[in-house]
């Protein structure tokens, strides 16, 4: 029995995971198409995938989707840079000064789950109808995970590595740059990745809410025109932003940590 079963896992392994992922996606769209075409799902609520694909050209040509895409992308990018600098910096400070950590950790964690996006009117008043409203909104909403993950990474550095540093008489700044920071880097990256997701959601959300800016506004407009295929096509571009960020981040991480 085991003899007969043995070759099977080997065969399964020859199918690359990307193919499985892609084909399950295709299968999902095909079944949606089928369900909608046969009328099981109302096509005025969920447009068939073929209509969405068909509307790509229209959205790209008529709605200046690339300009909006770039706008949303750059808002995310600026928010991401701010996040990394302030979030990682904040985490480092909280790790360095225990009093600060004891004072702030709880409410930073509480802030992570608060629906900060609902504060958009306040941001609108402060920053006006400019891209800074979106950037700051995304930045503030995404700050907690970056701070918390940085703190976690630094605090969970293995004791023995810290002791190696101490045994070599490292100065506090050497101890940080040569041991704590590189040891915490993988966890910090998890934080930045989470932060970028939060930032993107909030940025697109605010664009939608205040009907201003990039892809979020486009989604709002198309939805109000009841152009459902167009709306979904625009959502695909938001997903593209997210994919781009992930790929870039992965590249950076690979470059910084070539060994895993």
């Amino acid at each position: 029995m085991t003899d007969a079963a043995a070759p099977r896992p080997a065969m399964r392994r020859t199918i690359p995971p990307q193919v499985v992922g892609l084909s399950s996606l295709v299968a999902f769209f095909l079944s949606m198409e089928l369900l909608i075409q046969t009328g099981v799902i109302n096509r005025f609520i969920v447009p068939p995938p073929s209509d969405i694909i068909g509307s790509f050209g229209r959205v790209i040509v008529e709605e200046n989707v690339f300009g909006r895409f770039l706008l949303t992308l750059s808002e995310c990018l600026i928010a991401g840079v701010l996040l990394t600098v302030v979030g990682v910096g904040g985490g480092v400070l909280m790790h360095r000064f225990k009093l600060l950590q004891q004072a702030c950790e709880t409410w930073v964690a509480a802030m992570a789950s608060a629906p900060i996006v609902l504060m958009y009117p306040l941001f609108l008043v402060i920053f006006g109808r400019s891209m800074w409203t979106m950037i700051m909104m995304g930045f503030v909403a995404a700050l907690p995970p970056v701070i918390l993950k940085t703190l976690e990474g630094l605090s969970s550095t293995r004791k023995v590595l810290v002791n190696v540093g101490r045994s070599f008489n490292l100065t506090p700044s050497q101890q940080f740059w040569k041991i704590l920071f590189p040891a915490a880097l993988p966890t910090i990256f998890v934080g930045i990745r989470l932060g970028l997701i939060f930032a993107l959601i909030n940025i697109v959300g605010v664009e939608f809410l205040i009907n201003f800016g990039g892809l979020g506004q486009l989604i709002n407009e198309l939805a109000e025109r009841y152009d459902l295929p167009g709306t979904y096509a625009a959502i695909c571009f938001v997903i593209l932003v997210s994919i781009l960020f992930f790929m870039t981040l992965e590249k950076i991480e690979r470059w910084l940590r070539p060994f895993d």
């Binding site: 293995r158 023995v160 590595l161 002791n163 190696v164 101490r166 045994s167 070599f168 008489n169 490292l170 050497q174 040569k178 041991i179 590189p182 040891a183 880097l185 940590r257 070539p258 060994f259 895993d260």
Partner: protein, 286 residues
């Protein structure tokens, strides 16, 4: 029964490079204060290989941390070449029991770490690092990351890194404890060979009798709770000591003698841990 034998033959040594003087370490634990190290004194001469042996939990690592300057609160004093230490001392190089390589650095960069701190030029420190990598027998793995190496190889990287700082005293805490038996034996031979080659003053902490007898000039046997010096045994075996010596009769006598001392302590330790586990079912033995 527990009267520690005075280190008679070494009393007159003023030439000791490392002097550990009446060290007492207490810890506050939820179950009350414990004395981890109780009045331990020892001297290590230049070029000497001294081992401290004792059952698990007898305070060996605590002593290691005191000598290495990593522990702040203790009574007594540690001096290196006549100078009392307060904190980590550059003459003492530590090798830890746990895996302690930096996973983000290649073997070369790990070993060059202490040289980097001294501000040595890059080309020169790579050359120095290669020398120590070859010394521990890792040539060919210079550009690998620790994640690509076995446990024994990583421990050799740690050893090379410490040796690269050229410490006057090499201080090791059960450096082979996490390794399998074969690797442990081979690595033990390697360490012994390096120690003889460099005439490296070494203080090895271990719970392995064979290892201690094979390597040491003297062995300090510790008691369990409180951790005191029970006896100091001089090992009078010819060098170089290869693994073959392990079969000799004289070797066997030393092992039996130390085991007789240790058995009592080890069984006390075991009883103590059983008692502890029974009264605190959730707290495992450390």
């Amino acid at each position: 029964m527990l009267t520690p034998t005075k280190p008679t033959s070494q009393d007159a040594t003023d030439d000791a490079i490392l002097v550990v003087d009446n060290i007492v370490v207490r810890f506050e634990t939820p179950e009350g204060p414990i004395v981890a190290v109780d009045d331990v004194s020892l001297k290590v001469k230049p070029g000497e290989f001294l081992s401290v042996i004792g059952p698990s939990g007898c305070g060996k690592s605590t002593l290691f941390n005191v000598v290495g300057g990593l522990l702040g609160h203790y009574n007594g004093k540690v001096s290196v070449a006549g100078e009392t230490i307060a904190g980590p001392h550059q003459s003492i190089g530590m090798v830890f029991q746990e895996e302690s390589t930096f996973p983000w650095r290649t073997v070369t960069d790990n070993v060059a770490f202490p040289l980097e701190l001294t501000g040595m030029a890059k080309a020169q420190r790579i050359e120095r690092a290669r020398h120590f990598i070859a010394l521990v027998g890792l040539d060919g793995f210079e550009n690998r990351y620790p994640g690509e190496l076995s446990g024994g190889m990583r421990q050799r990287v740690s050893l090379a890194r410490t040796l690269a700082s050229e410490p006057k005293i090499l201080l090791m805490d059960e450096p082979f404890a996490a390794l399998d038996e074969q690797t442990r034996l081979l690595l033990g031979d390697k360490v012994l060979q390096i120690q003889q080659q460099l005439k490296q003053t070494t203080l090895l902490i271990t719970h392995n009798i064979t290892e201690a007898v094979q390597m040491s000039d003297r062995i300090v046997v510790m008691t369990y709770r409180p951790g005191k010096v029970k006896r100091i045994v001089e090992i009078d075996l010819p060098r170089p000591r290869t693994s073959e010596i392990v079969g000799s009769e004289a070797f066997g006598r030393y092992v039996a003698q130390i085991w007789a001392d240790l058995r009592e302590e080890a069984s006390r330790g075991m009883r103590d841990e059983e008692k502890h586990t029974l009264s605190h079912p959730k707290g495992g033995a450390s």
